[in-house]
């Protein structure tokens, strides 16, 4: 095999002779040594400041190293942090590129009409931008009410704007992270165990003897400690079972790869339940003690045999049976990982219920090697006066329809933003922070229509993402390396609080989210909600409540607070679950009451029409969503996506490795850009695969513009989950165009 290095990294699709992959390893584990890195820093007379990463949601704590001249040189993981374990992933290591990216937003922008009548962005000072927004918000409040705004958020900036909006009298906030991502698993696990999953997922993989992934491509979703735990599990000789239409990275390391037909996972899960129950492999003592509805479940899955599932999933029934025995042999140190992006087919809460039920049958929840019970030390909020009580909120327009929606639903707020929506709950202004949701929420037609109905659109971001192009006002936020934020205090095996501070002065005229929110709050006359001068004052007060201080956190970055709580159930412990029955609900009494199916069942989903292929999308380890493609360091690792096609399918179309192709979906939507085909045995002949996040069409993103195909516009067949409102996005099919499609209009650039 002869090719250059650059090609290897950028086109990681070469077929090569390779060695066989073994299942277990006795390899040595070396730990990254923070003290060693400190020595290096001292050698260079470097200094370091603590942070936690914002390139993805895993929020790994680390240290930012600066040289004598004050330049940021590198970022490394904090060894005391349970998310990082002394290491950052490529995105965290490459987080430095988010700071140095020359295409960053540099000044506040306001959309104005120039002398020729054309709209353009004009650079303004912060004062003018904040004034403009405050006037518009006050105007909307006066005309319609403060409730008629929506806040769309992602990540650390969100909390600052949530506070601002609550003070303004508005609770309409939502994030794509729920209704376009993890929502179904939260609803499914909550209905079963009385507690959601949360992040990081409490799958005790480092102690597990058998780990099961349903389409969850760990390693390609580079969730740091999660990947590290799987590596430890491989060292421990754990069995790995992967159901995926693609030989994903983890499927290639699996004991059993189940190349399942897309959209049939539920049949596999039901068949596993059948085998576990009817072959008496389930944890009888655990089920007797903790579970409700076993008899109903047993009766329900009676006919769901591996042979039945085989006809649906195309999997060998013996493989289904064998994998069920494998997990039972390891139980209770076995776990089906709940996954994260679970909005697939519209019956996703039910599929996640099925996953939760299998974890219960294995006796995994609350058991070592199964799922641990996460603990946390919540950092209290800085005291302010009570928020005003809004006349209505997202709940009033959501809960009738999607009864188990736990937070605001982005797509519901978009519906409410349409001009024909009932006036009493119609949204007339958007405030968007940290999410370019045009590239995460499907159904662009609706988004554009809703956009036209808005009297104000504000976008806060670090980069000129697509969403900023539709804003009336664009506010340049600092990167996470240049700002304070609220501490990270989520659940883990031990309670930890992680701290972020500015490593350096902000570049350009960018400002931290807390500053923007406070400035706007003061302008809106909400001074009483900001009884502090800056985040140092807030954080110092907060840290003192948990026995630390700003000064201490600057030195340690991560504070471990021993909660003394057990993370596993004690032998024979009486445990009351937060469900109607106080038990693990195999049969959901809550769903039964609300008219949803109390037991998960198989629904046949749409199949690919002739000449079309199941459109499967996913992640690459060096990118987060559509946010990082322009990061110079990460763009250098992967600057475009490719369309994965099985050689048999490729042959039918005359497609070869590297052939330039466009994709067209079942509704005739054609991809804006082309990309290269990757012909590979790693995928089913009836499916194609594309890494999400590419195909940016904003030319201000100089490195990412026009590179690759964007999957989101091709997702037009959306099935909404009736239980929690998530948008099922995997009911779409694509075909190939080998010639540049003729377009009526040229691409806007």
């Amino acid at each position: 095999m002869k090719t250059t290095r650059r090609e290897f990294i950028k086109i990681s699709g070469m077929t090569a002779a390779g060695a066989a992959i073994a299942g277990t390893v006795l390899g040595q584990v070396q730990k990254a040594s923070e003290s060693v890195n400190e020595n290096a820093a001292e050698e260079h007379e470097w200094t370091r400041t603590p942070t936690y990463c914002e390139i993805c949601f895993w929020k790994c704590a680390g240290w930012v190293y600066k040289n004598k001249e004050g330049q940021i040189k590198k970022i490394i993981g904090n060894v005391n942090d349970h998310h990082a374990r002394g290491k950052l992933c490529p995105r965290g290591t490459g987080g430095i590129g988010a700071y140095y990216d020359e295409d960053r937003l540099k000044k506040p922008l306001i959309r104005k009409v120039n002398e020729e009548g054309k709209q353009e962005f004009v650079e303004v000072e912060w004062e003018e931008a904040i004034d403009f927004i405050a006037k518009k918000m006050k105007g909307i409040k006066k005309k319609y009410g403060a409730e008629h705004l929506a806040l769309f958020i992602h990540g650390a900036p969100g909390k600052h704007f949530e506070h601002l909006f609550a003070a303004f009298g508005n609770e309409n906030h939502a994030e794509p992270a729920y209704a376009q991502c993890a929502g179904p698993r939260e609803a499914g696990f909550f209905a079963t165990f009385g507690v959601g999953v949360g992040s990081p997922e409490p799958a005790d993989m480092q102690n597990s003897k058998c780990i099961i992934f349903i389409g969850n491509h760990i390693g390609e979703n580079m969730h740091n400690s999660f990947v590290q735990e799987v590596s430890l599990a491989i060292d421990n000789g754990a069995k790995i079972i992967v159901a995926d239409p693609r030989l994903s990275t983890i499927a290639a390391k699996a004991t059993h790869w189940l190349p399942i037909k897309p959209a049939t996972d539920m049949a596999l899960l039901l068949a596993w339940m059948h085998v576990l129950i009817y072959d008496n492999l389930y944890d009888k003592e655990y089920i007797d003690r903790y579970a409700f509805g076993f008899d109903q479940l047993k009766d329900h899955v009676k006919n769901f045999t591996p042979e039945w599932a085989s006809g649906i999933t195309t999997l060998d029934p013996e493989l289904i049976r064998k994998s069920a025995y494998e997990m039972a042999a390891a139980a209770p140190s076995a776990v089906i990982h709940p996954g994260r992006h679970t909005t697939w087919y519209g019956d996703d809460t039910q599929r996640l219920r099925a996953i939760a039920i299998i974890n219960a049958l294995l006796g995994a929840w609350g058991r070592r090697g199964g799922m641990y019970i996460g603990v946390r030390k919540k950092v209290p909020n800085f005291p302010t006066i009570k928020y005003p009580h809004p006349h209505w909120s997202w709940k009033d327009i959501t809960k009738d329809k999607y009864k188990n929606a736990a937070v605001g639903i982005t797509n519901v707020l978009l519906d409410a933003s349409l001009p024909d929506y009932p006036k009493e709950h119609q949204i007339k202004g958007w405030f968007i922070a940290g999410t370019s949701f045009i590239n995460s929420i499907p159904d662009r037609k609706k988004i554009f229509k809703a956009m036209e109905n808005q009297e104000l659109i504000v976008v806060v971001d670090t980069m000129p993402m697509e969403m900023t192009g539709y804003a009336d006002v664009v506010l340049p936020e600092t990167t996470y390396l240049e700002r304070y934020d609220y501490a990270r205090d989520g659940k883990n095996r031990v309670a930890q609080v992680a701290f972020r501070m500015p490593a350096t002065e902000p570049l350009y005229d960018s400002k931290p989210a807390w500053w923007i929110a406070r400035k706007l709050g003061m302008k809106l006359g909400l001074n009483n909600y900001y009884p502090w001068r800056d985040m140092e004052e807030v954080l110092d007060w907060q840290f003192k409540q948990i026995g630390s201080s700003l000064e201490e956190m600057k030195q340690i970055g991560v504070k471990t607070v021993d909660s003394g709580e057990d993370i596993y159930l004690r032998e024979g412990e009486d445990y009351e679950f937060n469900t109607n029955t106080g038990k693990i609900e195999l049969y959901s009494t809550d769903f039964a009451e609300k008219g949803y199916n109390p037991l998960p069942t198989y629904t046949k989903h749409e199949e690919a029409p002739p000449g079309y292929y199941y459109f499967v999308y996913g992640r690459a380890p060096m990118h987060t969503f559509g946010r990082t493609q322009n990061n110079p360091n990460l763009n250098d690792l992967m600057d475009t996506n490719t369309v994965w096609i099985n050689p048999k399918t490729a042959k039918l179309w005359g497609i070869e490795n590297g052939t330039e192709i466009w994709l067209q979906n079942q509704d005739g939507i054609v991809s804006e850009f082309s990309t290269k085909a990757r012909v590979t045995e790693r995928i089913r002949p009836d499916s194609v695969y594309l890494v999400h996040g590419f195909g940016h069409n904003r030319n201000l993103l100089k490195k990412a513009f026009g590179k690759g195909i964007n999957d989101v516009p091709l997702i037009t067949n959306i099935k909404v989950d009736p239980i929690m409102g998530g948008t099922g996005m995997r009911n779409n099919f694509v075909t190939f165009l080998l010639e540049k499609p003729v377009k009526e209009e040229e691409v806007e650039s």
Binding site: S12, I21, Q28, V36, C89, T93, M622, P632, L637, E681
Partner: protein, 178 residues
């Protein structure tokens, strides 16, 4: 003293963290790299297809064609068998690039030939190389082969391994665990 690296193909997920960490540690300009990821696929769908990743770099060979072909002595071997290039002695002729069976060398934009140094500046301080220190799956293992207790010695003792292009006779010191 004989430094060597082992790379566990069973654990690597091909994330490229080793590549970014090397770039930031060694000020390698964006667009260039001293280490890189190879994805190896063989077999056919669905029964025999398999895949693994390799993180590759200079093999710091015992028998060094790059040093032999260097007309100026810029390419040289230092203690522990680490192969290095002295930039201001290098005329950028590229003889070493042609002689290397691993395609491990490239022309730095400043005109000299650049490559992996096994982070000798870190190793001198008793640290791991940047790629080893960052690897989230602990798929990279570094150490001294003359020390039977070093992690790399233990890894090679306990696992099956292979090297790249053994037929070239270079005696490479980058071992792939399988």
């Amino acid at each position: 003293m004989r430094y060597a690296m082992a790379m566990d193909t069973r654990k690597c997920v091909g994330c490229g963290d080793c590549v970014v960490a090397c770039q930031t540690e060694n000020d390698v300009p964006i667009g260039y790299c001293r280490d890189w990821i190879v994805e190896a696929v063989q077999g056919t769908y669905p029964d025999t297809v398999e895949m693994h990743f390799k993180s590759e770099r200079c093999n710091h060979c015992d028998n060094t064609p790059c040093v032999r072909t260097c007309p100026t002595g810029a390419s040289h071997v230092i203690e522990g068998g680490i192969v290095k290039v002295t930039p201001n002695e290098c005329i950028g002729c590229g003889a070493c690039i042609v002689s290397c069976p691993y395609n491990a060398r490239f022309v730095h934009p400043e005109g000299y030939i650049d490559k992996c140094t096994f982070c000798d500046h870190r190793v001198a301080l008793g640290q791991d190389t940047a790629c080893v220190a960052v690897c989230p799956t602990d798929a990279l293992i570094f150490g001294d082969l003359d020390d039977a207790k070093s992690p790399v010695s233990i890894a090679l003792k306990n696992n099956d391994w292979y090297v790249l292009a053994p037929e070239a006779g270079t005696k490479p010191q980058l071992y792939f665990l399988k």
